[in-house]
């Protein structure tokens, strides 16, 4: 009987694990700029993904897709666009599972990832990514 009960609960366990949960009790503000050949890129899509990588330093550099450990759902937590001057500005709530994120810049079919946003390089809930060269 006990085994049957535990077996019946197993699907519930998997269902619960597949949801990305966020809490609005903390929000990090992220700002920066995207350029291409020293020209600001306007209206390019900026997504943010939670990842399970361990940052080795605090600098923001381009990272390769194959090196990223996304979660099961691979869901973007933030979606925004750069303004006319190529500036990006958004906020992300606290993930219950990880505190490391990467930024994905999409221009047409070209995409590049930049990382990592983490507690090591954000100060007082703020991080300036600097200029991201696309």
């Amino acid at each position: 009987m006990k085994k049957t009960f535990l077996l019946a609960l197993t699907p519930l366990l998997f269902t619960n694990c597949s949801v990305d949960r966020y809490e609005g009790d903390e929000r990090i503000i992220i700002e920066g700029k995207v350029v291409y050949n020293n020209v600001p890129l306007n209206n390019v899509q900026v997504d943010v993904y939670p990842v399970y990588n361990k940052p080795i330093n605090t600098s923001i550099t381009e990272v390769h897709y194959n090196d990223l450990n996304f979660d099961y759902n691979h869901n973007s937590i933030s979606k925004s666009f750069t303004d006319n001057s190529g500036n990006l500005s958004f906020s992300i709530p606290r993930s219950e599972d990880t505190n490391v994120y990467v930024v994905k810049i999409s221009r047409g079919y070209d995409t590049k990832y930049y990382g990592y946003i983490s507690k090591y390089n954000s100060s007082n809930y703020y991080l300036n990514l600097g200029t991201l060269i696309f």
Binding site: S18, E23, G24, E26, K79, F90, N124, Y125, Y126
Partner: protein, 202 residues
Amino acid sequence: MKKIIFLVLFISNFTCNAQENTNPNISFAKSFQFTFGFANLATNKSMMGEAHDVAFPSVTGRLGIFHYNKFSVGLNASVHSMDVKNTQYYSYFEDTQALAIGPYISYYQPISEKSLLEPYISYDYVNYYSNYNDKKLHSESDGLGLGIDYQYKIVGMAYITFGLKYSFNKMRTETHPNWEKYMNNYTFMSAKVGFTFSKNRL
């Protein structure tokens, strides 16, 4: 829907049969209100206000528990759902459900033989639940509500009710000090229509 109708009938029946105190100035559970309407109207420039569309329907219930003369103290609760229209600062979600509950205090003033005004002030503790593609976001806020209801007696203890409320909410979010005001200060207006069941008012 059946459950909602049953709940409304139960509470209005409960209100009808509420205990009458020997002191005519004091009574208990003499008033109940149930309304539908809009919320998140006339929002301020804030993360929550700019991120969300107008909420419809907004369902509100209010139960007066303690009454002294024309004053009432009780509990009010509401639920509304709103689409996320701007994901820039709020994050990438599709819709948000807001569940509010808290105490209120009101004072009614008859303005004619069949109608009255009832201004009130409330504390609203709100939980927000946003969803999209296997993602969930939970947030909380504390709010002060200032509202006024116009009630017109239609029959017995039933009044048709029109109301407006302005809510001043403070999100429970830690963020950078320069952004604190934009992220946390959230104000909006609600408009509602429905019924109030009250004894011995007009």
